[in-house]
């Protein structure tokens, strides 16, 4: 270091002007020296870099009053007015810059992936390269802690909550119908292909006041801001085919993809546990248009999906099988604008519209339903300083649902509801230091249909205890309208919103390539809908006196570092929950909950084979079921569930990929639960039937080809 000073001095002595020495030390707020600070006199070259002791020394030919600048990326730049002749051995204190990479990030509840995530639990690629996920975003998320594997349903069940307690958002706008249509015990999948999304945040509780109408969880999907290049994608699969095209212009770009799925060949090859009269078929397409303004980005997203199947399922209450013939049409559109204006203001605004129409024939009965749902959103954010940010906004949700039921040769009954909910929220981000941050806000909401007004506070904070580890805490109140199955009877009954409170304690440790998360939570439900009949009917007696609790521990470990070319993660969830809702006589653990769940996901890249091989094993302990032959309610427990999936992606050439995947390699005979007969037989016994997967195995072979100018891109990220 000394040599530098000598050097500098020598250099400047070459000049013949009068020179003054400037010297001192830079320290942080705790008095610790900071090395590598660029210290100079504003508007001149005269300056130096501080040494390990934070010391600097340089000479200048300038005189009189000047401004001394101290700049270092991870500290706030300071400007000190000085008098040149009198600045020796002075101390400059630098304040840490909160906007830097190592500041605390509140992590309670939320697991993120994508560019902005500093600690990625899931990477964008993972959605598709996780064995067993088969390109289904939801299936990949089910390998994360806090979720339940409910094989006969397919939707996301989070921390003891029902599937409809999770709300999905695309670019900040609600998706009213995030899942494909399905029927009893036939699993559905997420409607969105991972193709167009670049970032995902999955919150299992305690989320921001920006999101409402969700008791358990929010899933935030963000479309890509800018595609890489012009390209065309072709996929040939054993289950169908897909085409995609991306065009990019100076300021705008357009991506379109379409796919046709037909499960007939698969159903013919693999023994099925149900009888298919007509295989599952779907035609779907998505498109994103983006336009870049100088200070903002406009996105238009549209997705359409038309699917149908015809199935005969065994029914314990009838000799003949029950036939379900389903046709679903779905359309989703959203437009969003995100931009900056004025002095550190940011605006996010947009609207979404979802339309879903089901035509279902149940044996000889007909059910038709139609849902129109819209969301309008406006959010403003102002950065007052690096230490204080304020955001506020408003949402307007409107839903119109109509259902008609026509019994064979009988009359038609119609039910439905119109609901509109107006909400406003505000939230402040406060940094007390680089180590301690808090987010405080609340959400106020008014529902027309339920004629009620609610205020939900949300508080979360993070504290960094050391360089690599931090604690976060979150508390929040959440409300949600009861699900459509109940409020469609609104003209007969008055319902109230269901409520939940979350308390979360999170610990996170992350070093290069490794992440550990532990989260303990307590969830308190109140105001759940209860009814007095076997199934929810228009003439049942309803009340909002139900309640529930859920508490548990979620653990997550991810490591992509220890073993070369191997990336793996392990999720473990423990849950203790009891629910008193629906027509339950006593509070019990509901049938979709396993006390212990464990997922292990591995991905291994074999360079010589140009292959990525992956295994996913999901294990969960038995789930409760109700056995009417026993006096105690919900007393049964199924055997444990296990599923080992395997996938293999082989890169034939840079733009051609061959992909193979198979689920339940071990052929485990999984049982999700039991359907019991409504009435006892002549011996006084209620007979039962196992609820099993529609097939023991799923397999998939696909060929993916990308055509682009640079001949580099491929669809690996979409598998």
């Amino acid at each position: 270091m000394k040599t530098i000073f000598t050097c500098i001095i020598l250099f400047f002595t070459a000049n013949s002007f009068a020179q003054t020495t400037i010297s001192g030390r830079t320290v942080d707020q705790k008095g610790k020296p900071i090395a590598g600070v660029n210290i100079y006199i504003e508007g001149s070259y005269d300056g130096a870099t501080t040494n390990e002791n934070g010391e600097f020394l340089f000479v200048t030919t300038l005189t009189g009053d000047q401004v001394l600048v101290a700049s270092f990326l991870i500290y706030e730049t300071t400007k000190t007015p000085i008098y040149v002749a009198d600045f020796e051995a002075k101390i400059i204190i630098l304040k840490e810059n909160i906007n830097t990479l190592d500041a605390v990030v509140i992590s309670a509840g939320t697991m993120e992936s994508g560019d902005k995530a500093r600690v990625s639990v899931l990477k964008p690629l993972d959605i598709v390269t996780t064995a067993g996920s088969a390109g289904n975003i939801i299936a990949a998320l089910q390998t994360l802690p806090g979720t339940q594997t409910v094989g006969e349903d397919g939707r996301l069940f989070v921390r003891g909550g029902e599937a409809n307690e999770t709300q999905t958002y695309v670019d900040g706008l609600r998706v009213a119908q995030p899942y494909g249509a399905s029927t009893n015990n036939l699993p559905t999948r997420g409607r969105f292909s991972p193709f167009l999304f670049s970032g995902i945040a999955f919150s299992t509780g305690g989320y921001s006041a920006e999101y409402g109408e969700a008791l358990s969880s929010v899933l935030l999907l963000n479309t890509e801001d800018e595609p890489d290049q012009n390209k065309a994608d072709v996929s040939l699969m054993t289950v169908g085919l897909g085409l995609g095209n991306t065009q990019k212009w100076d300021k705008s770009s357009l991506s379109v993809n379409a796919s046709y799925i037909n499960l007939a060949p698969y159903q013919a090859l693999i023994p099925q546990n149900v009888e298919w009269n007509s295989p599952f078929q779907s035609l779907s397409g998505e498109t994103v248009y983006r336009y870049k303004f100088s200070t903002g980005l406009l996105k238009l997203y549209a997705a359409f999906d038309s699917s149908k199947f015809d199935i005969s399922q065994e029914n314990i209450n009838a000799v003949a099988k029950t036939r379900v013939d389903l046709n679903n049409n779905n359309f989703y559109f959203n437009t969003s604008y995100k931009g900056n204006f004025g002095n550190d203001w940011q605006i996010v605004t947009g609207m979404s519209y979802g339309f879903s129409k089901n035509r279902i024939t149940l044996d000889l009965d007909n059910v038709n339903n139609e849902e129109n749902a819209a969301h309008l959103k406006l959010k403003l954010k102002k950065n007052f300083s690096n230490l204080f940010k304020l955001s506020f906004g408003a949402d307007y949700f409107t839903t119109q649902f109509n259902e008609s039921f026509t019994a064979n040769l009988g009359t038609t009954n119609t039910n439905g509801y119109n609901s509109s909910i107006a909400s406003a929220y505000t939230e402040a981000d406060v940094f007390l230091s680089k180590k301690f941050a808090a987010k405080i806000g609340f959400r106020a909401s008014h529902s027309d249909l339920l004629e009620e007004f609610s205020i939900s506070p949300r508080i979360s904070m993070g504290y960094k205890v050391s360089k690599n580890s931090q604690f976060s805490l979150a508390y929040g109140d959440f409300t949600q309208s009861p699900n459509a199955a109940y409020i469609k009877y609104s003209k007969y009954h008055e319902f109230e919103s269901e409520k939940a409170s979350h308390y979360i304690l999170n610990y996170q440790y992350s070093v290069d390539g490794k992440t550990f998360r532990a989260e303990a939570y307590y969830k308190d439900y109140s105001n759940l809908v209860k009814y007095d009949s076997a199934t929810a009917e228009y003439n049942s007696i309803y009340n909002n006196n139900g309640s529930a609790y859920a508490k548990g521990l979620d653990l997550f470990w991810r490591d992509g570092k220890t073993i070369k070319n191997l990336e793996y993660w392990i999720s473990y969830s423990y849950i203790d929950t009891k629910r008193d809702y629906k027509n339950y006589p006593t509070p019990v653990t509901p049938s979709f909950v396993s006390d212990h769940s464990l997922s292990v996901v591995t991905k291994y890249f074999i360079t010589d084979w140009r292959s990525q091989v992956g295994f996913t094993n999901s294990f969960s302990t038995g789930r409760p079921y109700n056995n009417p032959n026993e006096t105690q309610f919900m007393n049964g427990k199924t055997k444990a569930y296990n599923n080992l999936s395997f996938n293999w992606a082989y890169l034939i050439s840079q733009q051609k990929i061959l992909y193979f995947s198979v689920s339940n390699v071990l052929g485990t005979q999984n049982v999700y639960g039991y359907d019991y007969a409504n009435t006892a037989d002549s011996n006084g016994v209620y007979k039962r039937k196992e609820i099993t997967p529609t097939a023991d195995r799923f397999f998939f072979v696909g060929f993916f080809w990308t055509i682009s100018k640079d001949k580099k891109d491929n669809q690996l990220k979409n598998l």
Binding site: F11, Y40, E42, L73, F605, L651, Q654, K717
Partner: protein, 216 residues
């Protein structure tokens, strides 16, 4: 797929170590020349932080030339390639990006700036190949395409692009001859390339010669 990127990105690092700058501190001349000369001196001595700081100071004063900020970006990016500490790499690349952004905003028609951005991208790819490889290799090729459109005879453009392509071609067992031809072409161009000013970028010949050896 992404592992191959590491392979060739690592290859880039080894080549990036030496800078061909021959400028020497001048005892005479104006302040700018003295300052730049001094900064190159520091860089040569391996005092990267000091060199970068001085370039930064010069950039703050000389807002009409893109060179000081260009060198802030170059010094920090090359140091990032030589650093193992991920946190440091983060800081270095952020510094490089900030400096480059300042100049990119002023002039979108400078091939050297595009090459610089491509180098920063390459450094990010090395930083986390699994994540950044997929994300950045497309855009990086696009940057080279833009640079080539602006300056088809700039040897650094030709060479850097060929070098970026060569690694992946090797992985796929593809013929690297077309890239080698480009490297040969770059070497010829280096011999006739005249930097606009004494401090304009002129680096690359040594690395191109090194890369040429691997072609044979």
């Amino acid at each position: 797929m992404t592992k191959l990127i590491t392979a060739f990105a690592l290859f880039v690092i080894t080549l990036l170590s030496a800078q061909g700058q021959e400028a020497t501190p001048q005892k005479t001349g104006n302040q700018y020349e003295q300052g730049m000369g001094k900064a190159f001196g520091l860089w040569k001595e391996g005092k990267n932080t000091e060199a970068s700081d001085l370039f930064e100071r010069i950039a703050a004063v000389e807002t009409t030339t893109w060179l000081p900020n260009y060198y802030v970006a170059l010094v920090n990016t090359t140091s990032a390639f030589g650093t193992k500490d991920k946190e440091k790499i983060n800081v270095l690349l952020l510094k490089a990006q900030n400096a480059l952004d300042t100049e990119m905003a002023k002039d979108q028609n400078n091939a050297e700036l595009y090459v610089m951005q491509a180098m920063i991208n390459t450094a990010w790819i090395v930083y986390d190949p699994m994540t950044n490889g997929q994300k950045l290799s497309g855009p990086t090729m696009e940057l080279y395409a833009k640079a080539e459109a602006i300056a088809p005879n700039n040897p650094r453009v030709i060479f850097s692009k060929a070098e970026f392509e060569i690694g992946s071609a090797a992985f796929w067992g593809k013929d690297i001859k077309p890239m080698c031809t480009q490297i040969d072409k770059a070497i010829t161009l280096f011999s006739t390339f005249k930097p606009e000013s004494p401090f304009s970028p002129s680096w690359g010949l040594d690395r191109a010669l090194e890369a040429q050896k691997n072609c044979k």
